[in-house]
Every structure is written in C-alpha cells, then in structure tokens.
Amino acid sequence: MTFSPELEARFEKFLAKYPADRKRSALIPMLIYGQDEVGSVTDELVEEVAKRVGVKPLEVREVAGFYSMLHVGKPMGKHHVQVCTNISCMLVGGAELYDQACHKLGLGHKQVSADGFISLEEVECMGACSWAPAVQIGYDFYHQVTPAQLDKLLDGLKAGKNPDQITEVPKVNC
C-alpha cells in the first residue's frame, strides 16, 4: 500500500526514535497517524505496520483493539465530533450537549452519517475539565461550549463546512 510522502517521512522518523531492536515501539504511533490518512485501521494498514515494525499482523490487530482512538476496520466520519460527559463536564451541561448532538445529527454513539462526513462519540475526560463542557472535533478543542455554539458547529458541519470555516466558534488549541 502507498502512503503520502509526508506520512512516509513521519513513519521513518518514528522508526528512528527507538533503539534498533525496539522498532515495535513505533507500532501505536504509526497506527494512529496512519489511520488519520487512511480513515481507519484497515487490513492493508495493519499488514504494512506489521511488516515495518517486524511483528505478525495478528499482533498488530490485537494491540489496535485495545485503544479507543483506533477504529479497526470501521472508519469514523471525516469530522469526528466528540462530546465529553465525564464528571466535570457533566456538572455543567456536558450530557445535555451530547443529547443535543444526537438529536441534531440523528446519530448515536460512534455512528457515522450516511455520507461519511460526520460522526459522533460520547467520550471520557479529554483534559479540559476547567474549561468544561468540552468538545473535540477531530483533534481540535472547543471549550466552555454553549448549546448555541454547538448548534453553530453542527449546522456548519451539516452544511458541508470544515470546522475551520465555522469562524463564529473558534477552536482553542494553537
């Protein structure tokens, strides 16, 4: 399978980080960055990573199944909306935000829209508790999200926009 030159370069860098006889350490970073490009942990990605780190494909699959961010065989949407409902977020409306997202998108936990553009997940604490309730779209953080802001984000996504084009609600990470 062929990857983009950027990903190839990244893989090479990953493999160089660890001692020569410890290439397996690159397994999880390769899977997650690989998934970002390929869409999910596909059979081809598994085979390729297995080959490069020197383990059996079965071992890669066994590992991938452990991690909540790795979607084995089943891609999430292009824009993966993650709403935290853990304790700090729950206390200030996180669960209501999640319900709002379910209704607005017509999706449940880990479901993907028919066109593959949007998916939804109820997630555990994302390390934004002091700026709760928190939402992530892909890797972008949104803090102290109000119901009105969530509406704007979801309306924008439903209209086919990328999160960066929804300028009324800016992401907070630099």
Partner: protein, 422 residues
C-alpha cells in the same frame, strides 16, 4: 494567554513564564532563567542532584505523591543496561487538565526537567508519552525539541559539555489505563496497555526492562526551579513534607473554574471561594472531589483543610492529581457516582477479574439505582462490592473505582435511599 485569568493569590513558579510573548520559544525560555539549572546540574554529582530533589520535598504530581528524589534514588547506578526517562503526559484522570498547560506554554521547562533527571540517574534518552487526543501538544513539544537540538541543548554534546541526551515524543491512542505507569510502559513498547506485575518497579525494570525514571509532567517541570533556586526555596513554598506549589485544576460549579498555581497546603475552601469566586449562582456547596475522580468525595463540612498530601489523606481522601471538582447543593450524587463508575467500567483493561467484573456490576447497580429501580439491599451491595475490590486488583485502577464509590455511599446514603424503588 492561558485559558483562564491568573489570580492574585497564585504563587507562580512553574507557571511564571505563562503569558510571556512567545512563551513556547527557546529564546523566551533562555531570556527567563531557562537552561541555567541544567548548566548548574552538569557541575553537580548524581548524589548532589538527587539529594537536592529529596530535600525539596517534591512529591509526584501524577497522583500518588511519592517522593521524587527517593524514586530517582532507586535507579541502580551500576546497571550495565541503558537507562531511560519516561514522562507521563497521558493526563486522563477526570478533573485534571494541568499538564496540558505546562506543555502548551512552557515546553522547554519540561525538557530541562527531563534532562536534569537524566543527569541524576545517568540516562541518555527520554520519551514523552502524550495522550493521543493531545495531538496539537505533540506538535508543540516536537517543535521545542527541534529547537533544543538546534541550539545544542539536546544531542551528543549537551551545552558543549560532552554529555549525551536525546528526547522524543510518543503518541498514545486513547486509554486511561495507559496513565498507570506499568501499563504506560507496555503501551510504549507497542503492546496492549495491560499493567505489569510489580515489583520490579520501573526504577529497576521499566522501558525495555531497563532502569527507568517515570514521572508526571508537572513533577519534571518543578525540577529546574529546585536546582536553580535551591531545595530550601522550593520546600519553603509548601507545607511540611510537601514542597513547592501545585497546579490545582478547579472545575464544576464554581464561578471561576481554571488552573491555578498555589502553594501546597493552600486551604480548600479558600481555593473555592477566593480563587474560584465561590459556588456559582449563589448556591451552597455540597461536596468536593479533591484530587481527580478516583479520590473519595469530601462533604462541604470537611472542606476546611490544607491541600497537601498528608492532610487530605488524614481526611481519608487523596490529593491525587490536583483535579478539584466542586459540586453544589443541587448535585445528584447518585448520578455523579454512576458517571464516574461508567468511566472506570469503560476504562478497565479487563486484565484482572475483580476490576473487570467489579466495575461492570457496580455500573449496573448504580444505573439501576439512578433509574429508580434499585432495592434498599443494592445500597449495601454497592458498598460491599466496592470494598471487596479494594486492594484485590492487579493495578490500582480497581482501587480508583472503588474508593470514590465507597465514599459516595457512606457520606450520601440518604440520596441513594431516596432513589430506592417504591
């Protein structure tokens, strides 16, 4: 700018460079005391560095509060194996959001702390394990690492002194259990994040079964200040046996949630009322989780206490990871207990039966209580099941699930009773 306004009561030591223009850059860092501690440490012996850290009273900020200098002292100096420094930037204990800021606003402080640890134990390689969700921080950290290489801070000739130290980031992929040190090491080696049997502890057999210093981000970030300004300066900031300041992550029903750096031993009520501006909407305080979701809840009348490891432990809770979750009088305690147990059931790695089955059944019981279908006997069962899990799981995740549950049931039994099916 940091995500929340600083507060005048803060004692800004680890966060002193936050808010400076371009605080992520090596230039800003060097212009503000950066890498002076490393320079100083290169002239110290390993014993001197470790003794300084011991004398500072620094205790691990990841949760357990283990004395850092003592941990470093466990690394066998004469081992022929390579030694490693591993940074726990998995930050996933609910209520905790501080390591993120330390990386985002001052990544070089972390690099310097790691390198001093390297000198202290004779390690030449470090890795920063960053939770996968913090992708943007991997970018921040990689950039800082590149700068440090370009300036001859990292590399084969650190500061021109012929010392070697290399550093790299490592991405996780979503798993709370990988914050537990031995599971983190398994994950780092490219495996499922199941915990290891201990002993041996990481200091003896950590990454690749080699001697390894594994600490939390904030722990490493305290080290440059200790070396530069001295153990006494750091120790005097805090309370007895609890050196320094700590980043408290205030969340929940407060007017001014945020991350605040305060001396160890700062009073919890003052933290909520003065720093945090009090409970929001003029409500009364009901309860506080003082150190992240695994710490037993404190009732409002138990909150007049000093926030250091020993005082909070004496109140039968834990200072934990610094996540202070404030709950007002309207909070539904059964719902809070359920949400926390749903988390642990989801995150239990399934390796050992008491944790896997215990969290699953506790979740079901708490769900049934919350749905109004519970029996009075369920309340007893929830308490018993939790107590039977305590100390019987392979790693402390089981304890982390059991301890808060026991406290919720014991301290707010009437709320559980009120939900029993008619």
């Amino acid at each position: 700018m940091p995500y929340n306004q600083p507060h005048p009561l803060e004692v800004r030591v680890l966060t002193r460079r936050f808010g400076l223009p371009n605080s992520q850059s090596i230039d800003t860092y060097i212009a503000n005391e950066g890498y002076q501690a490393l320079e100083k440490a290169t002239a110290m012996s390993q014993e001197e560095i470790i003794n300084e850290v011991k004398a500072s009273g620094l205790r691990g900020r990841g949760g357990a509060g283990f004395p850092t200098g003592m941990k470093w002292g466990f690394v066998p100096r004469n081992s022929p194996k390579p030694k490693y420094i591993v940074v726990n930037a998995d930050e996933s204990e609910p209520g905790t959001c501080k390591d993120r800021l330390l990386i985002e606003y001052d990544p070089h402080q972390l690099i310097e702390g790691i390198m001093i640890a390297g000198l202290a134990v004779g390690a030449q390689q470090g890795y920063i394990y960053i939770r996968g969700e913090f992708r943007y921080l991997i970018g921040v950290m990689d950039k800082a690492i590149d700068e440090a290489y370009a300036r001859g801070v990292l590399g084969d000739n650190v500061l021109g002194k012929g010392i070697k130290f290399h550093l790299a980031t490592h991405s996780g992929a979503g798993a709370y259990e990988c914050g537990e040190e031995s599971a983190l090491l398994e994950s780092f080696e490219g495996k499922r994040g199941n915990p290891r049997i201990r002993p041996p502890f990481p200091a003896v057999a950590g990454a690749y079964q080699c001697p390894t210093v594994l600490n939390n981000v904030e722990t490493f970030c305290a080290v440059p200040t200790i070396i530069l300004r001295g153990a006494k300066y750091f120790a005097d900031l805090g309370s007895p046996k609890n050196g320094g300041t700590r980043l408290f992550c205030l969340s929940g029903h407060v007017n001014r949630p945020g991350v605040y750096e305060l001396p160890m031993g700062f009073n919890l009520l003052r933290l909520i009322n003065e720093v945090g501006g009090g409970v929001r909407n003029g409500k009364k305080l009901k309860a506080v989780i003082p150190g992240g979701s695994s710490c037993p809840v404190l009732k409002a009348d138990e909150c007049d206490l000093a926030m250091d490891f020993d005082t909070v432990a004496a109140a039968k809770s834990m200072l934990g990871s610094g996540g202070v979750v404030v709950m007002d009088e309207d909070t539904d305690i059964v719902k809070a207990a359920l949400r926390i147990m749903r988390f642990y059931a989801h995150e239990s790695c399934g390796w050992c039966i008491p944790c896997r089955e215990g969290t699953t059944w506790l979740k079901k019981l708490l769900q049934r209580m919350d749905d109004g279908m519970g029996q009075r006997s369920d309340i007893v069962l929830i308490g018993d099941l939790s107590k039977n899990m305590l100390g019987r799981t392979f790693c402390p995740l089981g304890d982390a699930a059991a301890m808060p549950t026991i406290a919720f049931v014991e301290k707010f039994r009437e709320e559980f009773e009120a939900k029993v099916a008619a």
